[in-house]
Amino acid sequence: MEASNPSIESLEQTAIECRKSIIQMIHKAGAGHPGGSLSAIDILVALYGTQLNFDVSDRKSPTRDRFIMSKGHASPAVYSILHQHGFLQQSDLDGFRTLGSVCQGHVDMKWTNGVDFSAGSLGMGLSFGIGTALAARLDNHPYQTWVMLGDGETQEGQIWEAMMAANYHELNNLHVIVDRNRIQNDDFVNVQMEVGDLASKIKSFGWEVKEIDGHNMQEIVEALQWSINSTSPSAIVAHTVKGKGVSFMEDNPSFHGKAPNDSELEQALEELS
């Protein structure tokens, strides 16, 4: 599919549908990560809706754009957008985290059509993206590589090995989006290990950096286009709210990796309708 130009309103509507899927998937599985899925989903909707070149009927096309979800626990967000674009069926989402399901607990290229990276261990996705971006250059392919990182994930040293390498190799076909939702597994990021001014840190590694509100669809769409036009590797630090869209999950560390119970599901779906 060539990237199209859907309206901001239709993107926002898609994001609502994805949020419902996310909550339902995790509730049905009785496990999963709602907080970081809900913080990331507006960005994924914009990315798949306006930038990524892919063909559902040719899922392994060597010239497709790559999307690498490095924070692989936000798998429900990925499955929900892949469902919206025809890669996955509702029955696939219903099997999330169950034996033999194509929707594994963490995103996995071996299991899921449309997934380009096997995540689950934080800190690895940007390095993988350097590999796909280098391959594009070696083959003279114009495809782009997009990598989503979590902010807690930037505590991993490997992220900074990769930041250094991407700049050294002048990979302007590599784009990072940091989901800066300020919460990690155990607690707030600034309690566990403050990562500080990520924009300045990344900039100091030679990248172009832009900070945005990661829930403002217009801003997201514009920032993605800005990134495509950059002449260096570029990063968007998207300030987000963990659990965005469900009041009792918002900014709540306890919903990093916990499924909603029946009444919480009901309330969440009511708020999203």
């Binding site: 380009d116 390095s127 391959a135 070696l138 490997q158 090995e161 390498a165």
Partner: protein, 314 residues
């Protein structure tokens, strides 16, 4: 770039193999600063556009290899054996688990590495990589076999770890005989009915010498170069176990988890046979000359001979 050694060190063989397969445009060589040591520098010199320098950052290196592999490249990434281990989880989760195919080479394996001291002497690499599904583990015994086996990785079906040695040892193969080597098939160097000595890497030549000495005593040993530790050649192990009174395994590697373990694991369930393991006995090395260090930890011709005598009933 340091001058290539004139044959003998298996790391030189690795470097030569990269040159030999360079015509295939899928080949990409990845370095983490130590290309002069692992000998990937030979490829870099001729093909800088397909050589990726990543600095002293092994974790990044392994995932860059995985990303390239996902796009149809055949990456060959190398550093010291011990430093590949820093990226063990990256190899496990980022490379082997999704079934991507890239080839890791760890040079300077074993106590034989010498004067650099214990920090550089990997004695557990074969063990750790052997535990990962979708991984082949190779340890050639000389430069010619390192070249041959590395060339065979070009169209290989899964990721691999190859350990090479820093220092020269006598050649085991000739330009002709090495062509019969196959990944996954043990190489029979000499045949005898009494005992089998299964060796890898720099210990293969010592195993041959021990077998020669033992022949003078009337003990006939089969000598095997088990260059592929995983998948281990079980067909050959079955044959040997049926034929001989016992088996001695010899490796410049910990006795925990390496060649001796692989042989014992298989035989204990399938063809129970006495296996005496000669290796690094759960200890670290230190600085010293290669031969001094092998003697220090008991990796000698004499220790192979006495292990054989302990098995054979004349």
């Amino acid at each position: 770039m340091s001058a290539p050694s004139s044959g003998g060190a298996s790391r030189d063989g690795y470097g030569q193999a990269l040159l030999n397969i360079a015509d295939d445009p899928r080949v990409v060589v990845i370095e983490a600063d130590l290309g002069k040591s692992t000998k990937s520098c030979l490829f870099r010199e001729k093909y800088p556009d397909r050589t990726v320098s990543l600095g002293i950052a092994e974790q990044n290196m392994v995932l860059v290899a995985a990303g390239l592999a996902s796009c149809g490249k055949v990456p060959f990434a190398s550093t010291f054996a011990i430093f590949t281990e820093r990226a063990f989880e990256q190899v496990r989760n980022g490379l082997a688990r999704p079934g991507l195919v890239a080839h890791i080479c760890g040079s300077h394996g074993g106590i034989h590495t010498g004067t650099d001291g214990s920090s550089a002497q990997s004695i557990e690499d074969l063990a750790v990589y052997r535990t990962i599904p979708n991984m082949t583990v190779i340890h050639p015994s000389d430069d010619l076999s390192a070249t041959e086996l590395t060339e065979q990785l070009l169209d290989y079906h899964e990721s691999s770890y190859t350990r090479t040695a820093r220092n020269k040892t006598p050649r085991i193969y000739t330009e002709n005989s090495v062509k019969s080597l196959r990944i996954g098939k043990g190489s029979i160097l000499s045949e005898g009915e009494d005992v089998a000595i299964i060796a890898i890497g720099v210990m293969v030549h010592k195993a041959q010498q021990a077998a020669e000495n033992l022949r003078k005593e009337g003990i006939n040993a089969t000598v095997i170069d088990m260059h592929t530790i995983k998948p281990i050649d079980t067909e050959l192990l079955d044959e040997l176990a049926k034929k001989v009174q016992g088996i001695v395994t010899v490796e410049d590697h910990s006795i925990i988890g390496g060649l001796g373990s692989a042989v014992s694991e298989y035989l204990s369930e399938n063809e129970p046979t006495r296996v005496v393991k000669i290796g690094v006995n759960d200890r670290f090395g230190e600085s010293g000359g290669s031969e001094e260090l092998l003697e220090l930890v008991g990796l000698t011709i004499e220790s192979i001979e006495s292990a054989v005598r302990s098995i054979v009933k004349l």
